[in-house]
């Protein structure tokens, strides 16, 4: 295996995935065998791809290959460079965990519906994501990109008998497709300025790299690509599909979609912004930064108000993509002023967050899947107390919550810290306006971080803690072993990535070096692997291992001190303030937990609260039934989507009048067309 080059390994992985997809229908009569076989092979393929990606980044070289298929003058070009390698690693790493998880998860469908479709498109989806990262010409990129979109679309509407699922999948595919066409146009624009457009060779990325595009057109190309990719990444206001599609997909698929599919869009933005186009206009970065900030804040606020577990996680993905884009935007701004070192710090923060988000969001979605598996419930209002029943899932999910809330020593904190560090370096920019504005962005990121913590306390507190909130006590059973292993691996990597950031940064450093010609590892690990010092030790430093060990030691010491003595611990009922028994209905739930948020940030949403008093039929003078109804809607939906949809249907009605039914009118059209054309010729 070691004799193979990274690209060969990656291709092997993709071929295994495609072959699995092709074999799957043959096995469709034996569903259990199909599940075990295909998910094990896809796990193996992912593992191979992890090695490939890792080796590509470590090797730092560029490998390319031309496949003999595609258009005759435009065969499929493949290229494996450190940037692709890094993203391949992310995709494959989470893919590996999720594949293992799926062995357990998908078996729950057996007997209810055929899983052949799920298996086929799962493999195609994985292969599509990897191909996107490897492709090196516009055509192949688009083919892979849409392969990814279509296969994930079929995965989203896997449980197709519910209209809601179909609607979600439809919305997803629509927005994805519009985004894809924008990307395509952007490539078309770049190819148009490249050499050899007429004989198809302008479509290769290498031709685009070498082309000189006028500044104005370059901006058009960049923003088309940015919005195209943003539609896939779920950047506000193009995020509408995300909270619809992720919840209805099977949880293993949501984990992949949220954890890694969104990253391919980030990859695209980085590829176009740093590699294909060479601009020195800081406004590009500024726009990316602003969209990132808006997504981060809005995403987490929306997440806070959700009661559906997976929907909440989906919104939180919007937030995290926002943070990644903030870093990318900062890097672009730094780059435009020629500050390579700072740019690479910001880019590093972004890339690190990509990796982290893949891990903890994958973990959380897998956890959500385990909860769903156990309770058949997505609404958090009907859960609670699962910590007592799900002995494995509960702590693993907690790890995910801690990571995503940016708490040391887990991984989320590292990237958040790096982000703040790059923000804190913005005063070095030679533009006074940016000096004043960028810190405000930092404040918004801080707000996002704090709200994320609040949000995930709600998630964990309402789902796992307290008493069961549902109407009847359902039988809750812990997830099978493959699911636990998948989550365990993700949790372990969350911790590892949090504790050993210096290694990761040293590994990744080749990427900013190739893109920006500046590297930070010389300063970042200057004080040894224990200390992360991105710029200089005097400037800022962080040592995750010491914090981790420190807290553990103190914890252990205190615990041992107290447990050497024999003080009795007694269980007692809750204090009920002297009234009657406290019932489960009196607990704080998701809606009440987020009430302060609704009060403070309510103006951003479309909130309708209604309270109805129902009277008791025996004692009419007492109003003892109070019905509270809350509806929170996305205001952006009404602002950005509703008008489009309405206008389309309005236009459709208008256009429909053309087909009036009277043949004379049709003849008149023909006649008038003739007259008009004759007049204008």
């Amino acid at each position: 295996m070691l004799t193979q080059s990274p690209l060969e390994l990656a291709i092997a992985a993709i071929l295994i995935l495609l072959a699995t997809a092709a074999i799957a229908p043959v096995l469709s009569r034996r569903q259990n065998l199909l599940i075990s076989f295909s998910f094990i092979t896809s796990a193996v393929a992912s593992l191979i791809a992890v090695f490939a990606g890792y080796a590509a980044v470590t090797g730092g070289g560029v490998e390319s290959l031309v496949l003999p298929i595609g258009l005759p003058d435009l065969p499929f070009y493949l290229r494996f460079d450190p940037l692709s390698g890094f993203f391949v690693t992310i995709v494959a790493l989470l893919g590996f965990m999720v594949s293992i998880y799926s062995i357990g998860y998908v078996k729950a469908f057996v007997g209810h519906r055929s899983v052949t479709r799920l298996v086929v498109f799962y493999c195609l989806f994985m292969a599509g994501m990897l191909l996107v990262l490897l492709s090196d010409d516009a055509y192949f990129f688009m083919v892979s990109w849409e392969l990814m979109a279509v296969s994930s679309y079929f995965l989203v509407c896997f449980e197709d008998d519910q209209a809601q699922n179909r609607r979600a999948a439809f919305l997803y595919l629509l927005i994805a497709h519009i985004g894809a066409v924008l990307i395509l146009l952007s490539f078309g624009l770049m190819a148009g300025f490249a050499k050899g457009f007429e004989n198809f060779s302008g479509y290769t990325f290498s031709a685009m790299r070498d082309s000189h595009i006028p500044e104005g057109w370059a901006a058009v190309a960049f923003f088309m690509a940015f919005f195209g990719f943003a539609a896939k990444a779920g950047v506000v206001p193009l995020h509408a599909w995300l909270p619809e599609a992720h919840p209805v997909a099977p949880s293993n698929v949501s984990a992949l979609m949220s954890g890694v599919m969104l990253k391919t869009a980030v990859y695209g933005i980085i590829r176009v912004g740093f590699d294909l186009l060479h601009s020195s206009d800081w406004r590009w970065g500024g726009v990316v930064l602003i969209f990132g900030l808006v997504s981060a804040v809005m995403g987490i606020l929306y997440a806070l108000l959700q009661n559906d577990l997976k929907r909440l996680l989906a919104y939180s993905s919007v937030e995290n993509i926002g943070i990644i884009l903030v870093c990318v935007g900062l890097a672009m701004i730094f780059k435009s002023f020629g500050m390579g070192l700072l740019a690479s710090l910001a880019l590093m923060a972004g890339l690190y967050h990509c990796l982290n988000h893949a891990m903890f969001k994958g973990l959380l979605f897998m956890g959500a899947g385990a909860v769903l598996h156990a309770t058949h419930e997505r609404n958090m209002e009907g859960m609670g107390g699962l910590v007592h029943k799900l002995k494995w899932t509960a702590p693993l999910f907690l790890v995910g919550c801690l990571s995503i809330s940016g708490l040391p020593p887990f991984n989320g904190f590292v990237s958040e810290w790096l982000t703040f560090q790059s923000f804190l370096l913005s005063p070095a920019l030679p533009s006074p306006l940016l000096n004043l504005l960028i810190p405000l962005g930092a404040a918004l990121v801080a707000l996002t971080g704090a709200l994320a913590a609040r949000c995930f306390i709600k998630v964990y507190g309402v789902t796992f803690l307290g008493h069961w909130r549902g109407e009847h006590d359902t039988v809750v059973h812990e997830a099978p072993w493959p699911m636990r292993i998948g989550m365990l691996l993700a949790a372990a990597s969350c911790l590892a990535l949090g504790i050993f950031p210096t290694f990761v940064i040293g590994w990744l450093d080749i990427i900013p070096e190739t893109l920006l010609a500046a590297k930070i590892s010389t300063s970042a690990s200057a004080s040894g692997w224990l200390w992360l010092t991105p710029v200089a030790a005097e400037r800022a430093s962080y040592s995750a291992p010491i914090i981790f060990i420190g807290i553990l030691v103190i914890f252990a010491t205190v615990y041992l001190v107290f447990h050497s003595r024999t003080t009795s611990v007694r269980r007692a009922p809750l204090w009920d303030c002297g009234f009657g028994k406290i019932t489960n209905r009196m607990q704080y739930n998701s809606t009440s937990f987020s009430m302060p948020t609704r009060r403070i940030y309510g103006f951003l949403f479309n909130i309708k609260e209604t309270v109805k008093y129902g009277s008791n039929q025996y004692l009419p003078m007492l109003n003892n039934r109070i019905l509270y109804h809350l509806r929170v809607r996305d205001r952006l939906w009404q602002m950005c989507y509703q008008p489009f949809s309405d206008a389309s249907f309005w236009l459709a009605r208008r256009v429909g009048k053309l087909q009036h039914g009277r043949i004379q009118i049709y003849l008149l059209y023909s006649f008038l067309t003739l007259i008009v054309l004759l007049v204008f010729s």
């Binding site: 009605r653 429909g656 053309l658 009036h660 039914g661 043949i663 003849l667 006649f671």
Partner: protein, 221 residues
């Protein structure tokens, strides 16, 4: 018959064809329409023969003969039989606002003249001035199809339009190559059979040949 006389004769025939085209626009009765249409075909045929004679192109005689057979005898006969068999001869069509239609028609003639003016300069044929009339006949036929409401009248409008095309072919170019002429004639013949079949189909399915019955296929409001 010298060339200039032939040209004059051709102009007169062109004027007559134009007149019949207007006549078709104005006529309400079905039999009346049929007669005018046959007359138009006759003029066309004569005009073709005159051109053939004056230019010395003998294949145009075949064209003239074809026209005569098809447009003056066969098609009006088929239509006559159909009208008779389907008992629609009593239906008198309401043609709205004839004066306006006439005005539009005159505007179309002027417009056709305007359009063909640059082309006239190119041609050295005796018939060159009649191209405008041919185009006008085509457009008037189209106009007729637009304003009429019955299937039969629409077909007559369609055939009048084809007459205009024929006239264009003879007047502008001294006729198309024979193979084309024959093919076109064959097509028209087939078309005639098809609309014959159609009249029966429409009659049996809708009980009327009024086009109002056939406005069901449309986009819903």
């Amino acid at each position: 018959m010298n060339v200039s006389f032939a040209a004059q004769l051709n102009s007169v025939l062109a004027a007559l064809i134009l007149l019949t085209a207007f006549g078709l626009l104005a006529q309400r009765r079905i039999y009346g329409l049929l007669h005018i249409f046959a007359l138009q075909g006759f003029f066309l045929s004569v005009s073709t023969a005159v051109v053939g004679y004056s230019a010395g192109l003998h294949h145009l005689y075949i064209s003239a003969l074809l026209t005569l057979t098809l447009k003056v005898i066969v098609l009006p006969y088929i239509l006559y039989v159909l009208i008779h068999r389907l008992r629609i001869h009593k239906e008198v069509e309401e043609v709205v606002n004839i004066p306006t239609t006439m005005l539009i028609g005159i505007a179309l003639v002027i417009y056709s003249y305007h359009l063909t003016a640059p082309i006239r300069e190119l041609s050295d044929f005796i018939t060159r001035s009649t191209l405008a009339v041919a185009l006008a006949t085509v457009m008037l036929g189209l106009l007729m199809m637009i304003i009429r409401k019955k299937a039969v009248t629409q077909i007559i409008g369609f055939l009048a339009l084809e007459n205009g095309l024929f006239f264009a072919a003879t007047s502008a170019t001294y006729g198309m190559p024979l193979v084309v002429e024959l093919g076109v004639a064959l097509d028209i013949l087939i078309a005639a059979f098809i609309f014959g079949i159609f009249f029966f189909q429409i009659r049996t399915t809708f009980d009327t040949l009024d086009l109002k019955a056939m406005e069901k296929l449309k986009e819903e409001e």
